[in-house]
Symmetry: C6
């Protein structure tokens, strides 16, 4: 009956890795969204047997980051001169749905900024293109899985607060919840100001044209 | 039985977001069409589990705007040097049909002009490539959903006026209707003269060739 | 039972819009083929839920116009530096078959030349790549629909003349028929010498190479 | 039961049009392969509801002509700077099989050389990439259809000679047969030395590089 | 029950044509793999209704030749400035499986080097990317077909030697077998040192960059 | 019942060839992952009837190597100016699943560095994008197949150590196991410091731009 292995939280030393929460027919699980960059031409690669909805979430997250690059302190040339790969282990397990939206967006933002992700943090929530965070299902099962995996802080949509209030308090003891409306709040909570050790140094070809 | 969450109207501070009206087997709903631009090469990305007909509506809307860019005061270079993403939440809900045509077109026009969308306005109607607005179905249910969501003004095709006349007046009290024939009328009604706060500043690479 | 709305003829003020005749299980209908141009790189976009055969008709029409551009007075650079979009409303109604061939070709020719289309004219007929016009089916139903919609002149293939001769004369009173063999005849009949009001002004990048 | 109209032979004034022979469940038919060129980048477009095998025949014919361009007196730049469209009416009739190989190859060769195709000539035969002509089926039915359509000369593979010998001589009176092994023989028989009236004048961009 | 015609061996005057052995439900057959080059950009075209496995064999053969171009005396620029087409007649007969691997590789090598293929030679065997030859099935039927077609020499994988030893010697009288492990052995046996008559003269655009 | 031939370990003289372990319905097998490079533009070709999950593993392996190229001593220009082909014989046997992840990654790394692969070594394990090695199934059957094939050393994920402990020691006598967590450990174990004989000499076009 096991679909994902029983994962436990791992350290936050690597940029672009963010802990999400999945809900399967046999209960909640944590999963890791992995984002990595390599020199290229702006190609987006998605792997981990992601379904259509989840692929669209990734595309939406990337568009959001591009539109907001100035505010987020991302050098726009990274989008043009690096390829982005998003992988969600385990590689053979089909995954779908919009609830990894904020997790994928945060993983991408960490990769593009090389900022560290807060330790022992997990999150689940749909994103929209204008940066709204929307509620998702399976909250109780996801929360139990997060606690079991050693998570201490959880980011959810404000509209999921009612789901938390229905859980017996003993089950959520020691968990710190953040209820948010907007993607900006997610990034402010999840990304530390400090960069990871040995951050990637982006280099760009010399531009030939000038802006008019 | 719920397909879309029961959405309520939201503010008009963000460019490229326009309220549409959907008709499902369980009644009417409002939906938000989100359009955003990021530096690129003129690519169109569509997400939100849109069906073939709805994707073609988006392509038709974009072609219309390109053909009419001069009249609409859009610098044509934006089409070549920015990518356009259209997303329609909720991300996991399949959507199809031509009735979001004017909504998608207005969202795109707001993104390309950075003009504010009129507050508390919703719309539904098919577009054609030459800028005609065509009638759509499910009017009664859509109107009730709009009122429930706090909408005050609604744009419809002239050929849908008969559908409004068949609704009990008490249900539509407080709603202001605009019946239109042409896309120009939709844009004149929906787009304010003022730009959004902090409008996006478009930049372009220096052109090398000259026009002959 | 209605598939297309009961359309009526509309004015000929817009370039690239030509009235065709469709035949469905519930009778004849008129339809509008819309062709529009926008600055681009020669891409062809087709929308309106067109089937394979109809898409191939559009491709054949475009190839014919390219091959004959000199005779038709079309600056070849338009094919390389503008995108062409063909849309056939209603957007949600699947359409197929070769009988819109001459209609699509005429719509494209009007868009490329900005010449006005003759008023109150409709047409139906298959095209081949060498410019032959071929007969199509459903003539009686199409003619009745054309008359109902206010059409005064109709272009058909010579091989469809027998179909007209079998219709009671009272049904076709007031209709003027043109039976043709070749695409050149269609264009000579359908395109006026005068350009539309405010014709599109084509501009081209300066060419760098010379012809050898 | 009719699949193709009962076509009759037409004149040979247009380059790129060659008469082929088809075999359907209801008998033989003639068909016209139409090849046309327009300025472009070497794209091949195929239309007429052609199946996979027939599309591969077209690709094989084109590769053969490219490899043999020197011997055939074709300026190689035509392959790079013109697009080739092959259409086989009627547009709505699905067609497949390898037997139009020599017909498509001859149509292309006529288009690329602008040489006239011999009058009242039809042909049927598979080609291979090295220029071999291979036998095809349905010979008797095809021959009867050719005669009915006014054809006077027919090109067939040598291995189809036995099929002709089994037909009553009265049915083939007045028909002149050419049995061939190689594509070169087909072209020698089918293409006249004279060019069509008003042949297309190919123009090419000035080349920048030199050959080493 | 006939699938391939009963082919007989043909001459070796044309570069890029190599005789393979196929195994069908009705016995063995010989087949011809045809490889041809034409000026282009390194595109690979495959025709003859080849299945996935056979297409992958062709891709593997091409990669092998590219990697080993220095040893094989192939000017690498041919891969970049010529297109390669592989066709396997008969065009309408679906073919699949890995056993044409060495045949396709030898045909390509002959085309790229313009070296003559040894007369009256046939071969069957799978290739791997590192140049290993692997055994294939249907050996007895293939050998009988080869003999019937006039073949005198046959190349097989060493692991297929046991299959030959099980055939009655009278059936294989007059056949000369070569059992090989590696692709290099195949090419050494199959390609003559002499070039074909009138070999193709490769020309290349002048290179602009230098190698660093 | 045989799916793969009963392969035996082969020498390590060729770069880019690594021994993996497969698990089929009829037992374990060894397989060879072959990676080869040829001058090109950074294209990835996969062959050997690989399923979706296995293709994604290859893409993940390649992204990992690109991101870590500095640490691994790979000149990044190889990714841009060479094409990579991965083939897994036997060509007709469908293969899928994530367990060849570390094998494909090691084969690629050997090709890109031209370093020799350790002799008589086999491996099985899933990779993630951040370089984690994950456990896989069928360990007992795979180990028996490895021993039968002459393998002496085996790399597995640490989480597969329990599977080894459950195997009777007599079956694994003479096998040396390495249990790892990270891709770095795999590469450190599998790639020798020495290059293969006659390593490929990478050449690159002269760069025109400078890095800013
Ligand atoms: Ca797991
Ligand atoms: Ca789906
Ligand atoms: Ca909602
Ligand atoms: Ca559809
Ligand atoms: Ca209508
Ligand atoms: Ca179809
Ligand atoms: Ca016909
Ligand atoms: Ca097929
Ligand atoms: Ca044959
Ligand atoms: Ca297959
Ligand atoms: Ca094997
Ligand atoms: Ca799959």
């Amino acid at each position: 009956g096991e679909i994902f292995d029983k994962e436990i939280y791992q350290d936050n030393s690597i940029p672009g890795v963010v802990t999400g929460l999945a809900w399967t027919s046999v209960g909640g699980e944590i999963l890791f969204v992995e984002a990595s960059l390599s020199k290229g031409k702006g190609k987006l690669t998605l792997s981990g047997q992601l379904g259509d909805v989840m692929k669209e979430s990734a595309m939406t997250a990337l568009s959001y980051l591009k539109t907001k690059s100035d505010k987020l302190g991302i050098d726009y040339r990274v989008f043009d001169h690096y390829d982005l790969h998003i992988h969600v282990p385990a590689g053979a397990v089909p995954k779908d749905g919009p609830s990894a939206g904020i997790t994928m967006l945060t993983a991408m933002a960490s990769a593009f900024t090389q900022r560290k992700v807060k330790a022992k943090l997990a999150m689940t929530g749909e994103i929209t293109l204008r940066g709204k965070v929307m509620p998702v299902g399976g909250i109780k099962e996801k929360i139990l899985a997060a606690k079991r995996a050693g998570i201490k802080e959880i980011i959810l949509c404000k509209n999921n607060q009612r789901d938390i209030e229905e859980i017996d308090t003993e089950y959520i003891k020691g968990l710190n919840f953040h209820f948010v409306d907007k993607v900006e709040e997610v990034l402010a909570l999840a990304l530390l100001k400090t960069k990871v050790d040995e951050p990637m140094q982006f280099t760009f070809p010399k531009e030939h044209g000038k802006e008019a």
